[in-house]
């Protein structure tokens, strides 16, 4: 195969690691790493700039999707979306934060596996609905959240959305990851049915649910048990 492998671009990875160890601003770190990589690959400054410009324009869709969703969420938030979510869950007698998140995890994973990966999301659901609901359920059972607990609970809401999305969407045959794997293997001389590729994701997806739901249930249990133990001392 290609005998002349250029090892210099690895400097770009070194720049990423160094930047994060030094706790630099991620935007600056990533941009510097890009420039280092481009220079190590022998690109002229003008060409690096052009590559940056082209790449940025090509990926505008990422930002466009997020920005347009903010229009809806922002307006609904102004008129009490989060407060409503908070109060609504408090009206449900036996709802717990852990239980709510486990149900959400399952729903997110199943809907993503059916190709409905836009049915959720950090800006659209987690911030305005899921997090206030989790906080509402928690405070109803255990009283006011302390600042650190609130932050951990919110982070867990975001984490649950990610885990559900990631380990659901690959089970959908037409999802881009499955298409990518299929195309790559076919070009490498292993033509396989995409359905077969999606099916072999099922064991990991099941373990993802068991592990994350287990953690959520354990935290809920410990919170209950912990509250009682604290009352004792």
């Amino acid at each position: 195969m290609d005998q002349t492998i250029n090892l210099w671009p690895l400097l770009g990875i070194a720049a990423v690691i160094a930047g994060f160890l030094l706790r630099g601003n991620p935007l600056l770190v990533v941009c510097c790493a890009g420039i280092v990589t481009g220079a190590a690959a022998g690109l002229a400054p003008q060409d690096i700039l052009a590559k940056v410009g082209e790449g940025f324009l090509k990926t505008r869709g990422l930002s466009a999707a997020l920005l347009l969703a903010l229009l809806v969420v922002g307006l609904a938030e102004r008129h009490g979306l989060r407060e409503r979510a908070y109060r609504w869950i408090q009206g449900i007698g036996d709802a717990t934060a852990g239980g709510l998140l486990i149900v959400y995890l399952l729903a997110r994973q199943l809907s993503a596996a059916l190709g409905l990966s836009s049915q959720g999301g950090q800006a659209q659901v987690v911030r305005p609905i899921l997090a206030p609901m989790a906080e509402g359920a928690w405070e109803k059972l255990h009283g006011k959240l302390e600042a650190a607990q609130r932050m951990r609970l919110r982070a867990m809401c975001a984490a649950t959305d990610n885990v559900g999305l990631f380990f659901g969407e690959n089970l959908f045959v037409a999802f881009s990851a499955v298409i990518l794997m299929h195309a790559f293997l076919r070009e490498s001389g292993h033509p396989l049915d995409p359905l077969y590729l999606a099916l072999w994701g099922v064991p990991t997806a099941m373990f993802a649910f068991l592990i994350h739901a287990g953690r959520l249930a354990w935290q809920e249990y410990r919170r209950n048990g912990g509250a009682r133990a604290k009352g004792g001392d």
């Binding site: 601003n25 600056l28 990533v30 229009l71 950090q122 975001a158 794997m181 072999w200």
Partner: protein, 317 residues
Amino acid sequence: MLRLPLLYSLVGGILLLVAGMTLKDAGNPRRLGSAAFWGLFGLLFLIGDLIPPALAGAMVLAMVLLAGLGRLAPGRHERLSAERLEQSLARLGNRIFLPSLLLPVATVLLSVAVQRLSIADAPLLDAKNITLMAMGIACLASTALACRLTGETPLQAVRETRRLLDSVGWAFLLPQVLALLGLLFADAGVGKAIAHLAAQYLPLDTRWLAVLTYVLGMALFTVLMGNAFAAFPVMTAGIGLPFLVGTHHGDPAVMAAIGMFSGYCGTLMTPMAANFNLVPAALLELPDRNAVIKAQLPTALALLAVNAVLLNWLMFR
């Protein structure tokens, strides 16, 4: 036919409005820097395709410098008074959820239905970007519904967008800059160099070592690149196909499926996957920007171990 540039012009227009509002906001301690940041962003959406790529690149670098050198700050935002908020809550009830529900439902329906719709043989929506276009239209419909329900103007929706953008700040730009780094890494052959080193210096003739290298390599490479899609071709061409399938005769379908999921474990662990890990931390107003990663770390590590065992077992049934 509705095309992507139209959607981009709309986004650009919104961003320029945000920039204008920021410029007029005396409550923002860094209003010039912040306005310049959102203004450049808007211009890139509006006229990015018309200017030379090097100029667009220079604009991107200017944005990165503004953000990286701390020239961005959140502005002041008028919230509804407690009294009016209670009125809205009482009047709207659970109908306040409707716009948020309409958004995903309309996106899915549109992307399914529109594939079959066409006017005078021209497809109604840009075929290559159906999901994005469908989402754009669904967002506009949901915004219209939200305006109707709340009795607000579209301009108020832009003001609220500025409030949310201010709370996300520079992290909003990060996913795109990371995608950019991925492109540069791919062009420069970073992945090839890594796979080359691994194949040269690790004893991959031992089966479980090859399995471990593939699984951990996928995760580690994804941590560095922020994207499992970038890691997959590299690790699979460099380690997976020659060693797992070639030397050890494993099933390539199992390798690919579990390999990609191992990459996803890496996605859960890295600030480089900004839109999943850093943007939510900003959206949820968490002071620790790595809080979401910390919440995910135990799940990711346990799942990575499970993947190594599953791969070693299922691939060589």
